[in-house]
């Protein structure tokens, strides 16, 4: 297990360099010069432009710029934002908990609803519930996120007035960041109604962000279950006279979880992409919104650093998923 872990860690290195290169190239491929964008309406003189170019190092060849960036990154220096002049690290850590809270809620919703839905659909294959569920999943999967978000906002915030439209908590409440998770901090603050407010802010964005992973997990669970249900060992389980709950929920699901875990890991990547849109729509102050804002400002270091950190998180989650995979699949665990 340890060797498995270390070898996975080794494969991180080329991936890491690749991601650094891609994020470095990506922002430079976008049309628009960061210095012009920063200057805004006022414009600026040629001398001032040249001065700034030199300051940010844009006058040097790209290869040199990349090399400098890479050596910085390896030493843990992601540079500073052109706009705020604060280290990228600091900004990232200030905003990351908001995204993490949203993502965790979304993935929990997706898992808690997706797996049972897939199991029930598989057990009732071809029947009404199965068809209804799978059509719904297809709709959920193919619906544009922003459209779905707007629809929910119109119904639940507009018509019903149940949920707020933006932010993480009502401005009324103010308390210190302890964990960065609004749900936990609001509870710790002991302020009346703070938790309710935080939860109400969280619910719509979580649902929006959960939609695609939910559809993917439900479909994958269903197809994995269908495959497992026709296995000989399921027949053995039924031949023991076990209840159908135990046959489906233990004997079948345990085996079906192996591919489902992989899909859950992969959907963390999708989650990050979804977070960018969701956070922008709901003005959720997380790294998704931060990235979008920075792209518009051509804030090179932030975009580069942000992409790199997001990629790192996705890789880490996938590593954890691989470890989990080993735990759930005895064949891997016992491979010498």
């Amino acid at each position: 297990m340890l060797r498995f872990f270390l070898s996975r860690l080794l494969t991180f290195i080329p991936t890491f360099i690749g991601v650094t290169l891609v994020s470095f190239a990506f922002i430079r491929l976008l049309p628009g010069d960061p210095i012009i964008v920063m200057a805004g309406e006022r414009g600026l003189t040629d001398e001032r432009y040249a001065e700034l170019q030199e300051k940010f190092g844009f006058d040097r060849p790209l290869a040199v710029q990349f090399w400098e960036y890479l050596t910085g990154v390896v030493q843990g220096d992601l540079g500073e934002s052109f706009v705020t002049n604060r280290p990228v690290w600091d900004e990232f850590f200030a905003l990351f908990p908001a995204t993490l809270e949203l993502s965790i809620c979304a993935i929990i919703i997706a898992i808690l609803l997706g797996i049972p839905a897939g199991v029930i659909a598989a057990v009732n294959r071809g029947k009404f519930f199965d068809r209804a569920l799978m059509s719904t999943a297809l709709v959920g999967y193919s619906m544009p996120i922003f459209w779905w978000a707007l629809l929910l906002i119109i119904v639940f915030s507009g018509n019903l007035g149940w949920t707020p439209v933006s932010g993480r908590i009502d401005l009324l409440y103010f308390f210190d960041d302890v964990t960065g998770f609004m749900l936990i901090d609001s509870l710790l603050s002991g302020q009346d109604g703070a938790f309710r407010s935080a939860a109400r802010h969280l619910i719509l964005p979580s649902i929006v962000l959960a939609t695609i992973p939910l559809a993917v997990i439900a479909r994958q669970t269903r197809s994995a279950m269908l495959e497992v249900l026709s296995e000989d060992y399921i027949r053995t389980a039924r031949a023991k006279g076990l209840s159908s709950g135990r046959v489906n929920g233990l004997h079948a699901l345990r085996n079906a979880m192996i591919p489902v875990i992989t899909v859950i890991g992969l959907s963390v990547g999708t989650l990050m992409a979804g977070a960018i849109l969701t956070e922008s729509i709901f003005s959720w102050p997380g790294i998704g919104k931060w990235m979008v804002d920075s792209i518009f400002r051509r804030d090179y270091p932030v975009v580069q650093g942000g992409l790199l950190l997001i990629a790192l998180i996705v890789m880490l989650v996938n590593l954890i998923v691989d470890l989990l995979y080993g735990l759930i699949n005895p064949r891997i665990r016992h491979r010498e």
Partner: protein
Amino acid sequence: MSLLRIRNLSVDFQTSGGLFRAVDSVDLEVNAGDILAIVGESGSGKSVSMLAAMGLLPWSAKVTADEISFDGTDLGGLRGSARRKLIGRDMSMIFQEPMSSLNPCFTIGFQIKEVLRQHLGLKGSAATDRAIELLDMVGIPDPARRLSAFPFQLSGGMNQRVMIAIAIACTPRLLIADEPTTALDVTIQAQILELLTGLQAETGMGLILITHDMGVVAETAERVSVQYAGQKVEEQPVIDLFDRPQHPYTAALLAALPERATERRLPTIPGAVPGAFDRPQGCLFSPRCRYADETCRTVAPPVQSAALGWARCHYPLSATEGVIAEETAQ
């Protein structure tokens, strides 16, 4: 009262090419203490008919029968939970595919103890003790240590023994063993058969033994039912069957036995069991039967009397004995 009674059982599978009849009006009866062997070539519906009795066929199978009853209880009319009390306890089955019949995600111990707990309420160390005892009975060395092994860590033969241990865990009244020894080597085959017959003698359970192996039939069974292309074509006590087979298919099967190959002229049976789309009219065996005539090819044969081994044949062999004697003499 008979332990298991099946009358006019048919099983159709929904396939992409339409319905396929895997079992065709089969009758079967087993009493406590009986050992019935079911023989027949691959694809003759032996497993499917027994899975139908156990209620273990997949959703794509449609089962019809005049009667499937266990000890007088109609299994077809039994609701889920009542049926589950019976299956795995009073009536259990050893499957043909040992490698894939155990759940790869759970240990051997878990899978044995699960059935002990389900039907006998055994838990904790009582269950562990019984599981070790069962593994010991089926000849697994070092049973205590094996409890924590996963199926893929054991050989096919070991898995088959674990399957047997699970099947006999609650001392069933009827045990269906579907080719219990195919995955095992010869010496172990004998051991396992001895174990099964020993257990049968000890507990007086009914035993249905599905096999290809006429040698095994001769050694263990009391009665033999021969199946061909989903139909039962003959049933006789084992001595009579070996002595005077009534259906040409049975005769051909017996002739395929190595020690008999010199005595009779059919070393192997030419042709193959008909599939879904090449089912002949008339007698299903007629394309491969050396005695077949026009009647056989066009008219479905009747089931003959008990004296003629219930043979599903127009011309049971002892009714036409003279003809055979002549042909063999040539």
